[in-house]
Symmetry: C2
Subunit: 275 residues, 2 copies
């Protein structure tokens, strides 16, 4: 069991920011990543559709054999993590709880902003999670549907990026928040512009690091963390052709993406009867 | 056969601009529309994935029973129309050829611009189609990946829309074109801003009208055009939840969308052995 890889999935390339931190914190783990690029983006889809896609992605990772699932996607973590958890016997880690915990550690004035996709924000998951951990917190949310296409187009700076960030976040500044959760794995690439708009006094929370830490702590606790591995493997799967994933993904991962394989999801013959 | 509906599909809401023209030109036809909203957008996906989706959508329309397929999506028309045509026994009409013919009728200086999604532009289908019809034509193309998210966000005017349109189309103006094909069904909603940027002397081609005319001409020719129908039916199907489709779609159709049903695609038990 210990020698099985850690499975990570996302709707596309965004989850590679989480992979990057996982590789840093758990260098001896084998990692299998799935980016569902044939059906990206998830953030504009209904809860039911996102849940179905999440279950199908989980089914694929289980067919490879994994010891843990990291859901490296805020939208899936917001609407489908319980459904995924209830269907598997291995630990499932999402990005929302680690991000919420980090925001609570950082805030001084108890006013936290959260930005994300339409589906993430409409689900109210961040709001619920933050309030559950600290009922006195005030949460201000905003869906920013143009951020993902902007980042995918490479427009992470310049006049257009600035104007779009202002369009969504000017009101956030007026709310007097001191902490802003970047509730979508694409958003850290807009960090510089976001900081310019909300001001340097607002701390930006990028949940990739916290998520990787949470995953490592769980593996350690259940004694499944590997301490040695002469040649750790990293396999990347996508559901659309690998070219686009490779070129956009390298900006997210911060290193080159060599082995990218294409798979068709949903699987025709699911291995697990539970799913 | 004559009494069967006309089937129309698109990746999402955009094809409703074609439905609008079909309803005007062929008021006695029953119409079945499918928007593949669970997998939209197609314009960032590979040819193989778009082709697979197109075949699965066709399979669904065939399972309803139709006499013609209108592919109301530039991306599918660009990369998958031959694959779809080769698999069915009914006429298939795409949006590219009608748009190209309209552009050739209009141009005076034989310099035509074409804008569309990444997949449409990279396929070179418009370029080939135009050159085939008139080898002397000069074609200038540009993919505009941010236009679709901009329209879906409702930002069809104002500073951001202007800046984004300028970002993509400033070079088009320098090319001295006198005709610009809006090679994506979302783009007509940006018509006013596009006209401001490229100037009033450039004619904008919206292929919805031409496509509906081509479809009507074919039905007339093979004697399948209905001349009467006491209560023509319009059925709309989507693959994600109907709410978002309904609210965004009404802007495209120009009238209210009452009957929208959700279906799961791919079908579990395809009816046709050919597909």
């Amino acid at each position: 069991m210990k020698d099985l890889p850690v499975g990570i999935f996302d709707s596309g390339v965004g989850g590679l920011t989480v992979v990057k931190e996982v590789l840093k914190l758990m260098p001896f783990e084998d990692v299998v990543y799935l980016g569902d690029t044939a059906r990206v983006p998830y953030g504009i889809r209904s809860k039911e559709t996102v849940t179905r896609y999440a279950i199908e992605n989980t089914e694929f990772l289980l067919s490879i054999g994994i010891k843990m699932i990291i859901i490296a996607c805020n939208t899936v973590s917001a609407v489908a993590i319980e459904e995924v958890s209830s269907r598997v016997d291995i630990p499932v880690v999402g990005v929302i709880k680690p991000g919420a915990l980090a925001a609570l550690r950082v805030t001084r004035n108890h006013r936290i902003g959260v930005i994300g996709t339409e589906t993430t924000i409409n689900s109210s998951t961040y709001q619920r999670e933050l309030k559950k951990l600290d009922p006195d917190i005030e949460v201000f949310v905003k869906a920013c549907p143009l951020f993902v296409p902007l980042v995918e187009e490479g427009l992470t700076g310049g006049e257009i990026a600035e104007l779009v960030v202002r369009y969504y976040l000017d009101e956030m500044k007026d709310n007097g928040i001191d902490t802003l959760v970047l509730g979508c794995t694409h958003y850290p690439l807009l960090k510089a512009v976001i900081r310019d708009v909300v001001g340097p006094e607002v701390v930006l929370i990028d949940s990739a690091v916290e998520t990787a830490e949470a995953a490592r702590d769980i593996l350690k606790e259940i004694d499944l963390l590997r301490q040695t591995n002469p040649s750790p493997s990293r396999r990347f799967f996508v559901t659309d052709s690998p070219e686009r994933f490779r070129s956009v993904g390298e900006r997210f991962l911060g290193q080159s993406l060599d082995m990218v394989e294409k798979v068709q999801i949903p699987l025709r013959n699911p291995v697990s009867q539970k799913l």
